[in-house]
Amino acid sequence: MPRRYCICRPTACRPTIKRSPALRIALFVACYNDTLFPATGIAVTRVLERLGHRVDFPLQQTCCGQMHYNTGYHREAVPLVRRFVEQFAEAEAVCVPSASCVAMMREHYAMIAEAEQDAALAAQVHALLPRVFEFSELLANRLGVEDCGAAFAHSVTYHPSCHSLRMLHVGEAPVKLLRAVRGLTLLELPEKEQCCGFGGTFAVKNADVSAAMLEAKDTCVLRTGAEVVTALDNSCLMQIYGGLHRAGSAIRTMHLAEILACAAAPAEALR
């Protein structure tokens, strides 16, 4: 069955977007978003362009190395660190719509360079990382934006992914962004700080426990009565969707960027 696209007409009212000086933003979309969740990358592009910035997408990008590194394949992650650092060295700002990837970079890239005893790589890492932002961080901290001119008249609950919560400390930024969306009803997720159970390869290496943790998370999601679950990581959303859909629920999962990209008459936004 072909995908249905929503064509969003421009809003009648002027969106109250705070304009920051136009930047060239390099997009590191993340390997799994590239392959499994292209809509997120598209949405990020739309939002940033709507805000008046220019988006670059270096095509040689592949993966940040987290899957290998976290699973214990440390040696294999090294070339991936090098690639990222080389490909984005000149970027004014790097946008990454994946909190877990940014956490990987901030927590481990310097350590990896040190373990390789590569002072040059370490220097490159230190020079680049201050310019690397997770998507909501970019909007809130770098671009100074809370209102993206979005409209999305549905009830939404927000799941704070562990990486964004405990490693990036994004704090209230995603919630503020959601609150500024016209027509959106934000519903608090009970026990929101509990891990969804994805955990990378954990989801398959410990599938039974992962499913048990997911059951707890999905029960909380269902309790909100929300139409949509959103988060900063599609890995969590993939997990949450997987359980909800298996249980017969019609709740949608959408990355934060996809909600913020909606700038339309609400009724048509979600078919």
Binding site: R3, R4, P38, G41, H68, N70, L80, V209, G242
Partner: protein, 497 residues
């Protein structure tokens, strides 16, 4: 050297044990309830403390410093304890610790049957002291309510601080009815606790030898500190004539004043109390007050293996509060037995493999989603997620040097690494995946994936890989994006009608 951590060496792997635990709904209910209660209490008590983070920082610094100079602090402790009338012994491993304890007990009580009362110490479980004592004709009586419940049920502890948390009141009542000969007992916790009090009173008053552990050993003074709630600790360290204290070498703190930090962090972290009911601190032997003979057994049992690497050494900062267990979403679902070690939960996942050796407990470093909840609550700031990744790295490196390099996981990881190191290979891999998935595609979903990926589809639905990747879309729209956005395009989630 026979390093032993309880029955870790023989335990089934975590995924296997967890699967069994997940089927036990009574267990899961008990564990959910218990961890929720302590977690909430802890949160309340921590919120009251404006200097909580500063205390954590101080505790981590004290522990890290102590470990970096552990040899001199152990020597200082030994000197001061001895000067105050204590006798200090050193045990390289579990067998040696047990042999010393048995020798000391026999030296005092002669060759016939002997009895000892024990106050909670995980270290004695670690070396399986009870089994060794029984084999030598010595009967150990556990006096901690939970340890007594575990001992009576011929069971294993499932939590560091509340070892019988997997048992509900009816299960405890049934145990007590049988073992105490009290068929009339109700399942009311007050009645059960009172039954335990009566049952143990006689032992406390009459058994001449006590065995315990220590939460802290103060180098500056040679003092030993026991942190407890029930009063059985006070009984065991005060009333017997002979006291034997088994303590891991990492329990040393430099100065008496350091206790001001730990005594604030430990009760709030462990049981969500501002202060636990009793802390006992004594130095050597005190005439007219307490045991006239006091022995300390300093235990290595694998700890020195962890001293060389800074990250592994950090594991030894643990003060056994159990807060990480209560915060862990994995532990919450499985309980402690699934970890196959007396040290369970997040700390168990790093401590057991390091003490026992990676060749046992291989699955434990993977029993985590790396969510970081444990690190957030650890009073001594052990970066458990980082150490888990470190141990995973060690395991993979070892595997890759052996025949385990041929596992499907390693081969898949190597293939992925190949794909990720070249744009051309990466894009080819994307195309290959989109083609290959057709075998498993039903409509818009993927079903019954093979191999390890089957673990996903067993429990969760999975959308098929979209026909167009992000980079396909990007390439299609050309190098220069439109400067005005009169239309925006969104894709929604699934296609459910």
């Amino acid at each position: 050297m026979s390093v032993r951590v309880g029955k870790t060496a023989a335990a089934p792997s975590f995924p296997v044990a967890a699967k069994a635990a997940l089927k036990n709904s009574q267990l899961r209910h008990n564990v959910h309830h218990a961890t929720d209660v302590i977690r909430d209490k802890r949160a309340l008590r921590v919120e009251e403390m404006p200097d909580w983070q500063a205390l954590r920082g101080a505790a981590a610094a004290i522990k890290a410093h102590t470990l970096r100079h552990l040899d001199r602090y152990l020597v200082e402790f030994e000197r001061n304890c001895t000067r105050a009338g204590g006798q200090v012994h050193w045990a390289r491993d579990a067998d040696e610790a047990n042999a010393i304890a048995i020798r000391l007990i026999r030296g005092y009580s002669g060759e016939g049957p002997a009895e000892v009362i024990k106050v909670k110490t995980m270290t004695s479980d670690e070396v399986q002291m009870n089994a060794a004592l029984e084999a030598a004709g010595i009967t150990p009586y556990e006096t901690d309510l939970a340890d007594m419940i575990v001992q009576m049920g011929d069971d294993e502890p499932s939590h560091i601080v509340v070892p019988a948390l997997h048992k509900n009141r009816r299960e405890v009542r049934d145990l007590f009815r049988e073992k105490m000969g009290r068929p009339e007992l109700s399942d009311n916790p007050e009645d059960l606790t009172h039954a335990a009090r009566t049952y143990l009173r006689d032992r406390f008053l009459n058994v001449r030898i006590g065995i315990g552990g220590a939460n802290f050993a103060v180098a500056e003074t040679g003092a030993v500190c026991v942190v407890e709630s029930e009063g059985n600790g006070r009984m065991c360290v005060t009333l017997p004539e002979v006291l034997i204290t088994l303590v891991g070498i990492e329990k040393v703190v430099p100065r008496f004043a350091d206790l001001e930090v730990f005594l604030q962090l430990l009760p709030r972290s462990a049981t969500g109390e501002r202060m636990n009911p009793y802390n006992s601190l004594w130095t050597g032997v005190q005439a007219g007050d307490g045991p006239r003979i006091f022995h300390v057994i300093l235990l290595d049992n694998g700890r020195t293996k962890m001293m060389a690497d800074a990250m592994e050494r950090e594991t030894l900062q643990c003060i056994r509060c159990g807060a990480c267990l209560n915060a862990c979403p994995v532990y919450r679902e499985t309980g402690g037995h699934a970890y196959g070690s007396i040290y369970s939960g997040p700390i168990g996942a790093i401590l057991s493999p390091q003490l026992q050796g990676l060749e046992h407990s291989r699955s434990l470093p993977y029993a985590s989603t790396l969510c970081g909840a444990c690190y957030e609550v650890c009073p001594v700031k052990i970066n458990i997620p980082e150490i888990l990744i470190h141990l995973r790295g060690r395991e993979v490196r070892e595997d890759q040097r052996s025949l385990r390099a041929l596992t499907s996981e390693n081969l898949a990881m190597q293939a992925a690494a190949l794909a990720f190191t070249s744009q051309r290979r990466y894009e080819a891999a994307q195309r290959l995946a989109r083609m290959g998935q057709r075998l498993f595609q039903r409509g818009d979903e993927l079903v019954k994936l093979p191999g390890m990926a089957g673990g996903w589809t067993k429990y969760r639905d999975l959308r098929a890989i979209p026909a167009q990747s992000f980079r396909d879309w990007w390439k299609q729209r050309g190098a220069t994006p439109p400067t005005t956005t009169t239309t925006t395009t969104n894709t929604t989630g699934s296609e459910d009608a």
